[in-house]
Amino acid sequence: MSMKFKTRQVDGVNVLDLSGKITLGEGSVTLRDAVRDLLSKGQNKILLNLADVNYIDSSGIGELVSAFTTVKNSGGELKLLHLTKKVKDLLQITKLYTVFDVKDDEAAAVSSFTS
């Protein structure tokens, strides 16, 4: 199963509920397009909910970073919510855990975006 996502707005923040795999050629392109789409509509506060992402490979990690820098360069913020063990492990190995703003609570995550 490749990746699926739903977008919802909570207090001006776009929450992307991702599910499935973020891997080379599958989820990674879906994620890229979803983020580009939001940015083109002027939406640059993005919270990626990774609770149902059961697998991510090195290309998927690359895509997360690429989304992070794209949003940052457009003056916005991208944060991560509810990491699964696999994703958390990979972010720790690659020292990216300190680069991303990682949250465990949705309400706190939403209110952490600068208004």
Binding site: L24, S58, S59, I61, G62, E63, V65, S66, T69, I93, T94, K95, L96, V99
Partner: protein, 388 residues
Amino acid sequence: MNLSAMPTPPDKTSLALEQQVVRLQALLEASRLVHSTIELPRVLQQAARIAVLELEMDGAMFTEPAVIHGEVPDDVLERDCAECPRFPLLARDGSVLSELIVVPPGGRELTLYETDFLEGLALQTAVAAENAINHQRNVEYARLARDLDAARSIQQSLLPQLMPEVKGYTLAARSNACYEVGGDYLDVVVEQDGSILIVVADVAGKGLASALICTSFRSAFRALARQSLTLKELAARLSQQHWEEGEENRRRYVTAAFVRLDAGSGELEMVNAGHNPVFLITPKETRTVDASGTPIGMLSGMRYATERISFPPGSRLLLYTDGLTEVYQEDEEFGSDRLMEAFAETGQAPAEEVLTSVWSTLNEFSGFAPQVDDMTAVSLCRTEMGHA
């Protein structure tokens, strides 16, 4: 069979039968002709020619690729001729390969016989066309396979062919690509002052694209390795260069572990750039050397920290890529804890035996299943005092 030589004058039924036989023979001959070639344009040319000659049409054409025989008016060529008789060529999976369009003289309607014949012709042409397309794919596949084979030879020739011999130490390396070529990289360079520079790296992704990035990483690494830089400076420069190559390169970032051995003093200098923890066992401790920064080429301006480690006699080091931890037994991952155990179990074996033992543990775990990722490791061991 010569039907006209029949002894009795033919009645209506036998006349109809005779016609039927002649038509079937014509279709059989048409079939033989369209199957006589394996090139798609020629298959279609042959079929269009048969439609025109056999049924005395003004013209016939195929839509894809465009093949025309006889006179086909412009409006038909532009494909907006809705009333022209069309016969789709269907592939085995039901998709439309092309369409046969015929132009009857004076725009008249086709007879039942003509429609039957053209349907039969379209069926036979579809089979021949699909075979031709498959044949073309096979030819292209063979060319790609030769290309990949050559690429594999080059990638293998870029691996260190001989390990430097350093008194009091053993050093061994192993790299197995999952596909023909891979995104793992290892190198061992003897520097001007005699120290040994070792790198194990993993480009994000697998296959040819990652292998291309690998060779570019190798060139950058080898060029910088000559400049006697500190390891953290080497890693920072490599990372910045890689990042500046653009977005595609940034996605194909490189996790890497660098080690510099000063054999005389028995000291190691290490930088881990977003790579799997390096395993270190010394007589005093068992520990990992974790990343001090993100992978090479992922973020601009990344800085790394160098760790200096004492590597007394009896110490051992294992650098590896995630292909070694991501070996599976059904859904269960081998993981880094088991890898550390397998490494620790090798005792005071020389480096080559360490790798052989680790590989055989991995194979036992996976039940000798085909590998799903590139697997690369380097082992460095310092022999115990008194063992040369």
